[in-house]
Symmetry: C2
Subunit: 403 residues, 2 copies
Amino acid sequence: MALVVAKFGGSSVADKDRVMNVAKIVTDTYKSGNDVIVVVSAQGDTTDDLIEKAKEINKDASKREMDMLLTAGEQMSISLLAMAIEKLGFPVVSLLGWQAGFITSSAYSSARIKKIKTDRLKKEIDKNNIVVVAGFQGLNRFDDLTTLGRGGSDTSAVAIAAAMGADICKIYTDVDGVYTADPRKVKNAKKLEAVSYDEMLELASLGAQVLNNRSVEMAKKYSIELEVLSSLEDKPGTIIKEKVEMEKCFISGVAKDDSVARISIIGVPDKPGLAFKLFSKLAKNNIDVDIILQSIGRDDTKDISFTVTKENGKKAVEIVSGYLDVIGGQKIKYDDKVSKVSIVGAGMQSHPGIAAKMFEALYDKQINIQMISTSEIKISVLIDNKDADCAVASIHDKFFSES
Amino acid sequence: MALVVAKFGGSSVADKDRVMNVAKIVTDTYKSGNDVIVVVSAQGDTTDDLIEKAKEINKDASKREMDMLLTAGEQMSISLLAMAIEKLGFPVVSLLGWQAGFITSSAYSSARIKKIKTDRLKKEIDKNNIVVVAGFQGLNRFDDLTTLGRGGSDTSAVAIAAAMGADICKIYTDVDGVYTADPRKVKNAKKLEAVSYDEMLELASLGAQVLNNRSVEMAKKYSIELEVLSSLEDKPGTIIKEKVEMEKCFISGVAKDDSVARISIIGVPDKPGLAFKLFSKLAKNNIDVDIILQSIGRDDTKDISFTVTKENGKKAVEIVSGYLDVIGGQKIKYDDKVSKVSIVGAGMQSHPGIAAKMFEALYDKQINIQMISTSEIKISVLIDNKDADCAVASIHDKFFSES
């Protein structure tokens, strides 16, 4: 007998038919002899609808009251799912975040889980109940309701799996697993049987938004095996765990991120400390910088280029402009018609030919590389936006069709 | 500086404009130098909508899960009202039933308040916060959410007023007070300045559904002064308290109840114990009997008549039919085209002419009285349904127009 934690997102419980479908999946798992804890998000658009309602009354409502409002969303979905499970004739109990023991930091709207007091969860499991828990929410030291921020239900599920020593944490969603590339764009994209935590983290940060990153980090920390799978089709998904058997192609996936913009500062004097000053200034303004490239000095000046999210683009340009005198740059270039294309794979650490193969795929299509960034398990290139889909397809073919 | 508890029903917070209106009333009360605790119901049709949603999934959902679902309704209304109060620039905090310290019995869907732990309420008042509390809900000894049943928010408000020693408990609603008769039916109906707890209890049980009876009983028990007033018009309502200055007319109001049915058992042998057996049998089946009339025996048989609610009518007839052999009755008559018309007033205790005056009003209109029932502060008659409105008007004129 295993303990299974199963998490269902808002779209999986969007209407009564989907709620009944989830009840079926959950009770089938229970019938197979498992203890089951289910973590659920608010139904469909409930959270967005509640935010809209709040804005109509007060655009600047306090985060405390927003959390009070939003946590009602999961309260409704857990009770409805519990009723559906009752309807199928199984013993069930729904628990709010605080009833399930979620103690969080006091930061409303973006609280962190501090611990889970598992007494109640254990008691309900001992009574052979299927336990339905409200994701995304907890209680802070003031006895007030908090939320974990968007995607927090994934984190709730992994945290319960860790606290209860679950055998597996299944994340049911509207895709059926993690793919080697976006299956809507790349027709040969293949579903991965398994992927490592680190690869998944890199893939998630690249826009393959299957799983919330905090949940993967937590799963890695506590060695919780995850499975991403579809709530609408009964077939295996993708397992996420520490060590994954290497496949021939050495990489796990190709991802594209269109949300980036590039800023270049031309003609910066070649003196030490300038880069440090510039990036400290941006960090102080809460602007995360991703790829950084510094050209080798021509004459006694150099060029510094870096990427930020498009969202932060304008603000970053303003800050750099106001700082241009200090660092002594000549002019600023801004380009938001760029994309970051990346390959991720633990295999590349021991196979130096991977980068070359990626660049070859781009050369095949005559695509110009603007910037390159590498980490132990990732290689990213910045290219023109219009070439991005073609680049992903070409790289994907190079690695996956030849193998 | 006084402590005011103000309660607003679902229709008073039905949409964003009404929520802002309530915020205005509450902050005006606060600005006048009062501490304010606000008790709110779920918005408009929220509760009914949630019940509908539950039924679509499971018609026989457990009461525990129904309470889990329904309590989300007030959670949304308290946070939205708190946001509206924030918008007006006042310090505010919303509290769920359990946060406000409501400890209830464990009977889901009809829990009784056992006590209120006032620590949190006191702390928030000490911080000069306006406190917005979710009505209708509490927590039982299993740490599970409970509801107090329909109309429970009135009871929540009175219980807080009692526990906190409030100076007054204002019940805001969509009528502007308690009237001498239904103002939609009787054009000379007058708003009462004040009425006693006992009179209010009788009026409420007669279908003048202004206030939930449990809340009036509790107000009487703890001597909490109530005021029923409109949330849409800024004018005084009706005060409900222990002793009310007697007005000339001696009665407080005339009320009509159409929800009754009469059952008569004809030809019951005149032996002791039969009435006891019959009404025990009905009580065991949870059927409340209201007026009972037993005719003086003709020959050696008698007739027993009683009223039940229309809702219970069919079931009561079935029970009595199956029991007819035991009590030896000859036949059963059932009539649900009847109404109960009553006058209520503490004044009648010392003025024996009141009943005669009521009967005279009926005689004036040639209305036949089927049954009569009297208590210390109430006289009820059962009459034909079609005469009821005319009877109320005639009685009302007799007492209030002549005075």
